[in-house]
């Protein structure tokens, strides 16, 4: 298998109920390395629950999640398409939710995936820079000077270096979300997760954030994005997965699912969202 084809994420039979409400009914999902998958669907379809399960913020009742299939080349180095900053030294990890998952396994999952939240969830008592370096320094125990240099480079990339000593409340929503993205990148995850990253933003701030995500996609990061921005999904995602009522209704290349959906539910959903535009 060429390094490019090895899936970074493999989800099998993921199921989850909240009380009597079954939100996930046996979800399968594959994300090849360097690819972007967009999860779309009406609210309550289970897409956010999948994403949260991939970061250990929800514990599914059944199914498995495998992250980081072996994707190094024969000489042990990473494939050349890998974006700089991905942690390569972690062995593949499988969490089987049919059995009890230990805190250590959840921690290992979080070593491999990082999340960007809908409401940013920056730490209000820390500066922008502290927000970014807290995980790498305190949890990952990486050398401070190196972490700071990397954090500053990442902040510079999203145009926020001069805000590094500011506190989150001094930033606009769009700026906060870009810090949220940098905080996730600084963890050097193999998998980036975005939970409706622009749905809490004022319309005029959406584009800046989407541009950053698009850039990361072009750079070769492996990403799963829950979004309502269909135009963005069409431009950025390699695959679009349409979900409803806890199942995958339709999946395929972004252009096909969004332009010529086969399933009636997908057609209705896409038509309604496009109509709103």
């Amino acid at each position: 298998m060429s390094p490019i084809d090895a899936p970074v994420l493999q989800v099998r039979g993921l199921s989850k109920s909240f009380g009597t409400n079954q939100v996930l009914r046996g979800i399968d999902l594959d994300v090849p390395r360097g690819k972007v998958v967009a999860l779309i669907g009406p609210s309550g379809s289970g897409k956010t629950t999948i994403l949260r399960s991939l970061n250990g913020l929800e514990t599914p009742d059944a199914g498995s999640v495998t992250v980081g299939a072996s994707h190094t080349t024969a000489d042990g180095s990473a494939g050349k398409d890998e974006p700089s900053g991905v942690e390569h030294n972690l062995p593949p990890l499988t969490l089987d939710f049919s059995a009890t998952v230990s805190p250590r396994e959840v921690a290992a999952l979080r070593d491999r995936s990082a999340m960007v939240f809908q409401h940013y969830n920056l730490f209000p008592h820390m500066s922008v820079l502290q927000n970014v370096i807290e995980g790498p320094i305190r949890v990952q125990k990486r050398p401070r000077a190196k972490v700071i240099a990397e954090a500053e480079r990442l902040l510079d990339r999203v145009g926020l270096l001069e805000k590094k000593d500011a506190h989150p409340f001094e930033l606009s929503g769009g700026q906060q979300q870009r810090v949220g993205i940098v905080r996730a990148l600084a963890l050097k995850p193999q998998l980036l997760l975005f939970d409706e990253p622009t749905s809490a933003l004022d319309p005029e701030l959406v584009d800046d954030v989407l541009a950053v995500i698009k850039e990361l996609a072009d750079e070769g990061w492996t990403m799963v994005i829950v979004t309502h921005e269909l135009a963005f999904a069409r431009q950025t995602a390699d695959e679009v997965v349409f979900m409803a009522d806890g199942v995958v209704v339709e999946r395929g290349p972004a252009s096909q699912v969004l332009r010529e959906p086969k399933e009636e539910r997908t057609q209705q959903f896409v038509r309604r969202l496009l109509h709103e535009l």
């Binding site: 913020l57 805190p103 979080r110 990082a114 939240f117 969830n121 209000p124 008592h125 506190h167 409340f169």
Partner: protein, 219 residues
């Protein structure tokens, strides 16, 4: 005569405040806060037994008078062979008392921090205790300053109860001087004035602390 006595008794009273009231309040408050933090941990724990223990403790402390708690420790415990001096008795009683009240304040403050903060802490890889310590408690601290200041100010005044178990704090000095001079009104008003001044200073300190902690929050 009254004026002279006011000035001549001011020294002993202030000494009583400096050697009795203030150290008693301060040490009890610090110990009480540590205790309160532990009890708050029990109260937010998912373990039912731990939760029950915390709840029971808070219920007993809040449901019984402080004076009774003091008397049980100082006059009651010797009956089962535990003889404590006035000072340790007072510090234990006041710490336990603060622990009960502050535990609920801290618990509420922890619960007031949005769930997304826990999730963000976990997302960057922190354990539950790391998240609590580095992410949640600093934010909870801001919320709990006003109610904890209340607790501290009450405590400063409540230390006067220690005079009843023979601790030489300010109010006991006032009682002694009053008994000797028969000027009860003057001495007790003088003691009241000093308590008031101490509490005014604490209120000022509280506002400063609130301003400091509010730096990072939009209004």
């Amino acid at each position: 005569m009254g004026f002279d006595l006011f000035w001549s008794s001011l020294g002993p009273l202030l000494l009583g405040a400096i050697q009795g009231t203030i150290p008693l309040a301060l040490s009890s408050f610090i110990l009480g806060l540590i205790l309160a933090l532990l009890v708050a941990m029990l109260r937010i724990s998912r373990n039912k037994v731990a939760n029950g223990v915390g709840q029971f403790y808070v219920s007993v402390i809040r449901g019984t008078p402080l004076l009774v708690q003091l008397f049980v420790i100082f006059y009651g415990l010797p009956a089962i062979g535990v003889k404590l001096d006035p000072w340790p008795s007072a510090i234990i009683a006041f710490s336990l008392n603060v622990g009960g009240y502050a535990a609920e304040v801290i618990r509420a403050a922890i619960l007031s921090v949005p769930a997304g903060q826990w999730e963000a802490g976990h997302m960057i890889g922190m354990s539950r205790s790391q998240t609590l310590l580095c992410i949640i408690l600093p934010q909870a601290a801001r919320v709990s300053v006003p109610p904890l200041s209340n607790t501290f100010i009450s405590l400063v005044k409540d230390t006067s109860l220690a005079s009843l178990i023979l601790v030489t704090e300010m109010f006991r000095v006032a009682q002694q001087v009053a008994a000797f001079s028969q000027e009860f009104m003057l001495l007790y008003l003088e003691a009241a004035l000093i308590y008031w001044v101490i509490c005014l200073a604490l209120s000022t300190a509280q506002s400063q602390l609130e301003k400091r902690l509010d730096r990072y929050v939009a209004h």
